[in-house]
């Protein structure tokens, strides 16, 4: 991307070979190391302003959960803001004992509370109180939210995290003179995470569930839809967790989960900004080298079996109609991944996309409609999902028919060369535009390194997309978009109080 290369006469070349060139330029500015404990760290220099952004990706998401602990990956993500033995404690030895007491008290309460037979009401009450008393005692020994306070004070912005089905990601940005502080804080929270305020935070997560899933019609539909589309694979579990699990799992469960999955060899950190690798590596070694080496967790055994029959979920709700249909497709490591990406662009990207032109612009039956990959994740075989929101007076069935028509075209007609070319040009330009932001870039590099095994795949994917042909699209559409491979979900508007 160096300006020198952009002689006007070479412009065409620049656009067509943008990906290759970006990669070359990026390799110069990017260094990557694997520490002795297995942690992968990527640094990309971007020296404009004295700031940097980072993203830590843990190759663990809600797909690593099993019944009983659904929601725990996300719960741990919340706990990673609670500090360590050195951050957030008034008196660690005392707090450690108090927290152990909370766990004991909780285990006793939980056992009594969930007793299937001969439940002793009085005993449950007593144990409940003992548990809450233990919490109060532990709470006295901590500094509330010290971790975030330190980051805020240092001028941190955009501090947040998310848990997807595939990964857990942590990120923020700091002025570049705080690099060492960052290395300390980020390594500290994974070196010895402390599960203080665990049960309060569980309530917070329940509120998150109420907000995103229970109080939102689309949230309710999506939960039912995924639970139906996946019969064996954990992609069918809600990332936020089933309510019963959220009400019962413990800090001990979370600690075990972290011990198994939060190991350096399962983590990638990408740093982008005003950071000199020569100065940064020793700091990174010093702090992140403290994370103990541990074996890489086993890969997931369960593979979603082939779907043999179409599935349907209908949410009858006073809300306006929504239509979803998902088709199983292979993981993002599959050679056809680029073709799926192109299909998604053809169907959904921009005002020239097929679904927009047909359903939104011409038929006016949809307020919007699109088809996208990677639902709910991409690491494992997942869903290519189409959706549509009706305009007033139109039904989900009309959207289904409209989408079916466009799928039929994919299966039977060759995509015209100009249309395919337009998509490819936009993919290349899209990559270019992504490179402009430190935080976006850090997330992308960490994401590709984690899920595709190499950050360079970010650029290579664009090259692969460039090679997708009309024949590829037809073939993939025919193998994927079959009724027997489909799960349909819809909201049918039903007046308030009607039978559901």
């Amino acid at each position: 991307m160096k300006r020198v290369m952009l002689l006007a006469s070479l412009l065409v070349l620049v656009v067509t070979s943008a990906a290759a060139q970006d990669l070359a330029s990026f390799e110069k500015r990017t260094s990557m190391r694997k520490l002795d404990n297995g942690l992968t760290v990527i640094i990309t220099e971007r020296r404009d302003a004295p700031v940097f952004s980072y993203a830590t990706f843990v190759n663990t998401g809600s797909a690593q959960e099993v019944p009983g602990i659904t929601g725990l990956a996300h719960m741990f993500e919340h706990m990673a803001f609670k500090g360590s033995d050195r951050i957030g404690s008034k008196d660690w030895p005392a707090e450690q004992k108090a927290l152990a007491k909370v766990e004991e008290a909780y285990a006793a309460y939980d056992r009594a509370n969930r007793a299937a037979t001969n439940r002793d009401e009085e005993e449950v009450k007593r144990l409940d109180k003992a548990w809450k008393d233990a919490i109060a005692e532990a709470d006295n020994l901590m500094e509330n939210d010290q971790f975030s306070e330190i980051v805020d004070r240092a001028g941190g912005v955009g501090m947040n995290a998310y848990t997807s089905s595939d990964v857990t990601a942590y990120f923020f940005s700091l002025p570049s003179n705080r690099f060492e502080l960052w290395a300390y804080m980020e390594s500290e929270r994974f070196r010895q995470p402390v599960f203080r305020q665990f049960y309060k935070e569980r309530d917070v997560v329940m509120e998150e569930r109420r907000m995103r899933t229970e109080s939102s019609p689309v949230g309710r539909l999506v939960e039912e839809f995924l639970a139906t589309a996946f019969t064996a694979h954990p992609y069918g579990f809600p990332g936020v967790g089933w309510p019963s699990d959220l009400h019962s799992f413990s800090a001990t469960d979370a600690a075990e989960f972290a011990k198994k999955y939060y190991v350096p060899s399962n983590m990638v950190i990408a740093i982008v900004g005003d950071v000199s690798p020569a100065e940064a590596w020793p700091v990174i070694d010093k702090y992140f080298g403290r994370l103990p080496k541990a074996p890489q967790p086993d890969t997931l055994r369960t593979v979603e079996p082939e779907q043999k029959a179409e599935r349907l979920v209908i949410l009858r709700d006073p809300a306006q109609p929504v239509y979803l249909e998902g088709y199983h497709r292979p993981s993002s490591l599959h050679p056809d991944n680029a073709t799926y990406d192109v299909i998604s662009m053809l169907m959904s990207s921009g005002r020239t996309s097929r679904l927009y032109k047909s359903l939104v612009r011409d038929k006016k039956i949809a307020a919007n409609s699109a088809g996208f990959n990677g639902f709910p994740g991409e690491k494992y075989p997942n869903l290519f999902t189409f959706f549509g929101f009706t305009t007033p007076g139109h039904t989900p069935d009309e959207l289904a028919a409209g989408i079916a028509e466009e799928i039929e075209r994919l299966k039977t007609e060759d995509v015209p060369e100009a249309e395919l070319q337009s998509v490819k040009t936009r993919v290349k330009a899209g990559l270019l535009r992504q490179l402009a932001s430190n935080s976006g870039l850090a997330e992308n590099l960490a994401n590709y390194q984690t899920l595709r095994g190499d950050w360079r795949e970010l650029f290579r994917e664009v090259e692969r997309i460039d090679k997708v042909t009309a024949a590829d699209i037809k073939r993939v559409a025919n193998t994927t978009f079959k009724p027997s491979n489909r799960t349909v979900g819809k909201i049918e508007s039903t007046p308030k109080g009607a039978a559901k």
């Binding site: 300006r3 412009l11 065409v12 404009d48 302003a49 004295p50 700031v51 803001f81 050195r86 509330n144 939210d145 975030s148 306070e149 805020d152 001028g155 941190g156 501090m159 940005s173 002025p175 570049s176 003179n177 705080r178 060492e180 502080l181 300390y184 305020q197 309060k200 569980r202 309530d203 917070v204 509120e207 109420r210 907000m211 229970e214 109080s215 939102s216 019609p217 689309v218 020569a278 100065e279 020793p282 349907l312 809300a319 306006q320 020239t352 939104v360 006016k364 039956i365 307020a367 929101f389 009706t390 305009t391 007033p392 007076g393 009309e398 028919a401 337009s422 040009t425 535009r433 402009a436």
Partner: protein, 711 residues
Amino acid sequence: MKRFRMNVLSAALLLIAAQAFGQVNSHTEIKTPPLRKFSMPQPKRIALANGMVIFLQEDHELPLIKGGAIIRGGNRNLPAGKAGMAGIYGQAWRTGGTTTVSGDKLDEMLEARAARLETGTGGDTSNVGMDVLKGDFDTVFPIWLDLIRNPAFPEEKITLAKTQANAGISRRNDEPGGILSREVTKLGYGADSPYARQPEYATIASITRDDLLAFHKQTVHPNNMIVSFIGDFDSAKMEKRLRDTFSSWPRGPQMTKPAGGVTAAKPGYYLVVKDDVTQANIAMVHPGIERNNPDYPALQVMNEIFSGGFSGRLMQTLRSQRGLTYGVGGGVGSNWDYPGLFRLQMATKSGTALESVEALRGEVVRMIDSPATAEELALAKESILNAFVFTLDTREKALQQQVLLELYGFPADYFTKYPGLVEKVTTADVARVAKTYMHPDQLAVLVVGNEKDFEKPLSSLGAVTPIDITIPEPQTSSGKSTAAAPSASNSEGTALLRKVQEFVGGKAAIDAVNASRIASTMNLHTPQGAMTAETTTVLQYPSTMRQEMVLPMGTMTTVVTPSAAFMITPMGTQDLPGSRKDSAVADMRTDFFHILKSADNPKYVFTAGGTEKIGDTDTRVLDISPDGGTVRWYVEPATGRIVRTVRQTTAMGGPAEMVTDYTSWKKFGNLNLPAAATVTRNGEKAAEITVGNVEMNPAVDAASFTKPATP
């Protein structure tokens, strides 16, 4: 020289290595070197004689050029009766293209180049922006210019934008968070305020192409515009190009902001009942400040202490310590040239709704009664000042800041001076501004939720004003039919429909019918000749039907339900193909009795038109858009009797016009229903129907609607 450098380098490395050996036990042991000095290049400002201001910022990192025009005038400059027009205008501007190139053509042209050219209109400005690969600039620039000056606003794209807007209206009560933010804004500014008014079907329907053209003419003048570009270009060349392009454009009338616009709601409790949620969404509001208020820096510090990030008081207390909420936030808000709102919001489980209202209000009181400590002040100031570098860490942000300051008439060094002002804020300032700008007794408190699950009724806290969020049905005074289906009934249409309801037996009697079984004899005229079918039709409103026709070749049964559509014939069972299913569904929707039952459904639009003579009867035309599609009824105005219905259908091979003449009506139980009818298809007689028996609300076997298992 070289040697010396190496020494410095190795000394530095040694230092780092020495540092690396030390064990760090606390974040306080980590030294913070001074932040590297840097200065972000500022854009060049160019003022043209016609009042246009241009900003240019070179940025050669990527081969891209981005830019656009910001034009004064937006939602607040539009009449109240046209709420929603800003959105329609901003959308149709781009999708409608220019007087020389259609919007659809622009889409193809631009997307093939990965170029973006977009328009949008917000509260007080419009924006015509472009974002292109450098090599496409010469191609896209003239289009951008053409779009600014010569938009076409074709009816077709206005209709599209209106359809989208109506979809937004229909969906606005689906998510509780959406209800909260809309209603709290109305409480803060007053429902009629240009900063809060909400579009309705009727206001959308009233917007015309002339309105859009007039607003364009009113606003798009060089003296109302700020043009800015950033990217991989040469400023001198760009400046010449823009001067050549814009200098000869004469000034027009200046846009101003309307006066007032803030009529806060009375303090007290307001309730929106939403019963399909497990959370109560809570907000509190009263007016805030304008950006030019000298207390703005002190208020930013106060906001940081009150609700900044995870370490602010609200998150600390309500989330971390009490586990009441996932998200809580707010503060004393400001806008550049009109008052912001002091506004707080949170969501909590229904069972802690009132506890949370009290706790949130308690934090407001505490901010006044227990003002910030020195420690809180230091944390807030450090957070703001240390993060200040992020307000200016890209060339694009430097440009955006200057455009903003120009737009609202603030000095160009406003942001440079800002950290100094924050630096000066004291605990006394924070205590003072908390008292001056936060008024717990003046808050309008809004709760959206399922009140029966609250721990106590909201009224236990004080008098409650319920807010009805029912979406008003479309209504307009003139029902002149246009190319597009009208989106609102006219009053004559509604009246005529009532007349038909009376004729049939009254609304109550009609609504009491949930299902019917009708036995009739059909005389069918088919290409194979005439044949008679004894037919039994079971209808379960609104969308389930089973029809059995006994024909010479055997019994044909058609079943349509919301989830299935199939046909049972002597040859076996098969699904109805998509088109047949659609037409069967449409048939049900256009069934005259179903329409009568749907009189109050806002998706059914009734428009009375002219008069026409059918046979010997003078009739009034009633056009109906029943939830998609259209039907026309010819009604005897004096009696309300339907004489004829006409509808378009795609049944049985292609589009057709189906005309049904009702030749006699008869009392069946308490209802007056057709006893005989003739059906004509595309002018050819298709069937004569004689009704034998009608049973209302018959016992219906649910199994009769399920598809028999295939053997």
